[in-house]
Amino acid sequence: MKIIVAIKQVPERDARIRIDSSGKWIALDDIEFRMNESDAYALEEALLLREAHGGEVIVLSAGPERVGQTIREALAKGADRGIHILSDSLASYDALGVARLMAAAIRDEAADLILTGLQSDDLGLGQTGVILAELLAIPHSSLILKIEKTDTGIRVLRELEDGWFQQIEMPTPALLTIQSGNTRLRYATLMGIKKAKTKELRSVEAASLGVDAVPSVTLDSVALPSRQKSTQMLTGSPAEAAAKLVEKLQQEVRVL
């Protein structure tokens, strides 16, 4: 099974976010970057499939030089080789543009399966994966928790809302966007890092892929969420306070 995993490098989750001078994105100096969380689960699924059925896992990522570090991390965790779409101005592309770059970069690979995370931790669009499937003209399914190989293709478990799940049988090649949290992520090892140094990491200039950089969707501005802290003290005896709490949870927060 030849599996391509598309991963994104995003600012670390609890980074101190500041808006940059353009007002259109966050200031990236003094920020540490990580592998997008659901992409890490996509990678884990790919590695598990390869361990069970053999084949190859290729990681694909786009962005500036620093993205190479995240690709190396994926190689260290066990991916076989990497493709880096090199671009210092990836933010000027929208999801369609990025998907077009990716499609151009991997069209010749003829993979059996393409996995991406469900959505990115920074933009959270959840678009790039499914657009990529459309561009490659292969079927896709999103929010996947489990993948099994069958004689004819794959069987996947898809998460719906409200505790419902869906089982889908699909042919391959196919693209799946993976939900976080269903497997245990492996840790990076010293041996993995050493091996990663000898693995192939191919860089492709974004400009060489013949994709129009003019976006159809443009980002107007970004803003930090305003924080509202309202603490309410529930008074009375413990029994009264508990009754008030239950009422609030039912009527106001609606979690019960």
Binding site: A188, T189, L190, M191, G192
Partner: protein, 651 residues
């Protein structure tokens, strides 16, 4: 005066003749040839086994970081631990002293035995009637009596008293120990017997031959049994890595720790063959004492079994037939085993080495361990908390940022920065520093020192954290660090050296003890038992400082296991972050020991001990003692006005 008395000595001897050792008449040629043949057979039998062991040790991988120089420490260790038998005696006084007498007798007998064999060939050089000879033989006789009594006592202890630590894992005792004890006793008896028979008599001849045959039977037995330590352990102690729990650097790109026989180094092989199976390591091991699979002696003997079967060039995994992964990951790295070992075995480099082998190659698959490593990778702290939580704490407590102008960089650590109980310790310690007018600051960005990764054998995460922190400290021009966590102190002071030069660091107990005189006096109330954290005591040799802090306001009592014999709380070695334990919980066992002192307060000096004891105490329904860090004890003496109004965690 001195010269005169020396000259008159032979005259005095003539007047009061000392008892003389009886020697047989000179041997005919046939008897000499027989003796020579027997010696050759004995030596051949000895070498047939010893040669194999020696070749295995020498064929092992060289220790990349071994330096023979400086010799001063080695000579001191040899003098103190081998010649004086200091460790043997100190940790088990009575059997230790008995062992020492056997050892010293062997030393005294070196000359006697050489002369004994030489006599058989007609070249005896000590005259039993001569001045030096008569005195030396008598001295040897005194040692022989002490040795005979000692070895009989040790035999009685092993086979009648039967301390559980001496038994093998199947609860049997090695019969060869009894044989060896019998031979040593016979050696001494046949020597002393020669004082009771006339020189040149048939009895003298029989005793001479009995002594010789005992000796020649003893020699080949040595390399076949744990008595190999007679030959190897002086070398093991002399050549030891030094330091405590010193984890050697990885040699090259192919080195991931102890994975296969090829990773066993010469020093490790030497130590493995030196083990005398005394079980002191097991006796003090918190895992072995709470029903876990880990037994440090069996780890060492497991490696010996591996080397005997596969040899040092084998690619067979080390964690397999002879040692188990489960046992290797039950170690709290408390270091009791290494501290106790009388023959210089360094257990921690072995146990951590096995973990490195399993983690650096990804073989170790543990839910909690994996989570911990990911938390360290992604969040930079062992608790997996968001960095912003630490920032909030800094703001709430008004802890100043370190800007290079302050004397100390206050290192919060994961516990001090994120754990509620750890934060209370920081808060108290800060109150003391404010009272004393000590200037301090806190780094805005601080990552875990990498201690749990280091002890669990994850070199990748440890290196990343160490390098990242070292760079940050250098950028901020930190010269002196102070920390409430002995694990941080040890890791920064020693383990980081693999990747740079860490700033000076001390534990808050050392700081508090130094400033004790400037803190307000208060009346002594209640009794407090101090629990020595492993990483402060055995790892840093700090025992008195925290006690002096406690003694200022409370009556100090000691637990049965204290100071260098302290019993671990169960948190070390990354185990605080792993899942439920096999057998009894180490923390509950230790709390039981502390409570049995009857103290009203348990004094702690480590946030990890603190959190373990807090949980163990929480499960008790009876009147449990209160649990306080020494910083909290010291802060309690401060006038109330100097305390900020933030004693409680904000809601």
């Amino acid at each position: 005066m001195l010269i005169a008395s020396l000259h008159s000595a032979p005259a005095a001897l003539a007047a009061f003749p000392l008892p003389a050792l009886a020697e047989p008449s000179p041997f005919p040629l046939a008897e000499k040839l027989l003796l020579a043949a027997l010696i050759l057979v004995s030596a051949w039998l000895f070498w047939r086994r010893f040669g194999i062991v020696l070749r295995r040790i020498l064929a092992a991988r060289k220790d990349a970081d071994f330096h023979l120089f400086p010799l001063t420490r080695r000579i001191w260790d040899f003098f103190w631990e081998v010649l004086c038998q200091a460790k043997v005696i100190r940790e088990r006084p009575l059997p230790g002293l008995a062992h020492a007498f056997v050892f010293w007798s062997f030393l005294a007998f070196a000359l006697v035995t050489t002369n004994h064999i030489a006599t058989g060939f007609g070249f005896g050089f000590l005259d039993p009637a001569g001045f030096f000879g008569s005195i030396y033989f008598l001295l040897a006789a005194v040692f022989a009596i002490a040795c005979a009594i000692s070895i009989a006592g040790l035999f009685f202890r092993r086979f009648v008293v039967r301390p559980v630590w001496l038994a093998h894992k199947d609860n049997t005792l090695s019969p060869e120990s009894g044989v060896i004890a019998g031979l040593i006793f016979l050696l001494m008896a046949t020597y002393l017997g020669a004082y009771l028979v006339p020189a040149g008599s048939a009895a003298a001849l029989v005793l001479w031959w009995m002594h010789t045959l005992t000796l020649l039977s003893f020699l080949p037995l040595v390399p076949h049994t744990k008595h190999l330590h007679l030959i190897l352990s002086p070398a093991t102690i002399f050549l030891s890595r030094g330091g405590f729990s010193r984890i050697p650097p990885l040699a090259d790109d192919e080195d991931f720790g102890l994975v296969t026989g090829k990773d066993i180094t010469q020093l490790t092989a030497l130590q493995v063959y030196s083990c005398v199976e005394c079980g002191r390591c097991t006796e003090h091991c918190p895992a072995a004492n709470t029903g876990k699979e880990l037994n440090p002696r069996e780890i060492i003997l497991g490696l010996r079994g591996y080397l005997n079967e596969y040899g040092p060039a084998s690619e067979e995994p080390l964690l397999g037939r002879y040692n188990s992964q489960q046992a290797a990951f039950q170690c709290t790295t408390c270091g009791s085993c290494e501290f106790q070992c009388p023959v210089g075995i360094e257990h921690l480099p072995v146990i951590v080495g096995l973990r490195r082998g399993a983690v650096n190659t990804g073989e170790w698959d543990d839910e909690h361990g994996g989570k911990l490593f990911l938390a360290l990778e992604r969040s930079g702290n062992a608790l997996g908390m968001a960095h912003s939580e630490r920032e909030k704490f800094l703001a709430r407590e008004e802890l100043p940022a370190f800007d290079g102008s302050q004397e100390y960089c206050l290192w919060l650590g994961c516990m001090g920065g994120y754990d509620p109980k750890g934060r209370e310790i920081i808060r108290s310690f800060v109150q003391v520093m404010r009272f004393l007018g000590t200037s301090y600051g806190v780094l805005r960005r601080e990552k875990c020192t990498g201690d749990p990764a280091r002890r669990l054998g994850n070199d990748l995460v440890f290196q990343q954290l160490a390098e990242n922190n070292l760079e940050n400290l250098a950028q901020n021009k930190v010269k002196k660090i102070i920390s409430i966590c002995p694990h941080c102190v040890r890791t920064i002071a020693e383990d980081w050296k693999a990747y740079g030069t860490p700033p000076e660091i001390e534990h808050h107990s050392e700081f508090l003890a130094r400033h004790q005189a400037r803190l307000p006096k208060q009346p002594t109330t209640g009794t407090t038992v101090f629990h020595d954290p492993c990483y402060l005591g055995r790892y840093r040799n700090v025992y008195d400082e925290p006690r002096s802090v406690i003694a200022a306001s409370s009556t100090l009592v000691e637990a049965e296991r204290s100071r260098e014999r302290s019993f671990c709380c169960g948190a070390g070695g990354g185990l605080a972050f792993l899942g439920e334990e096999q057998g009894a919980r180490v923390s509950e066992t230790r709390v039981e020991q502390l409570i049995s002192t009857g103290a009203t307060t348990i004094g702690a000096a480590c946030p990890f001990c603190n959190t373990m004891f807090r949980d163990a105490l929480a499960s008790r329904t009876d009147n449990a003692p209160q649990l306080l860090d020494i910083a909290q004890i010291a802060a309690a003496a401060l006038p109330k006005t100097s305390q900020p109004n933030t004693l409680q965690e904000n809601p």
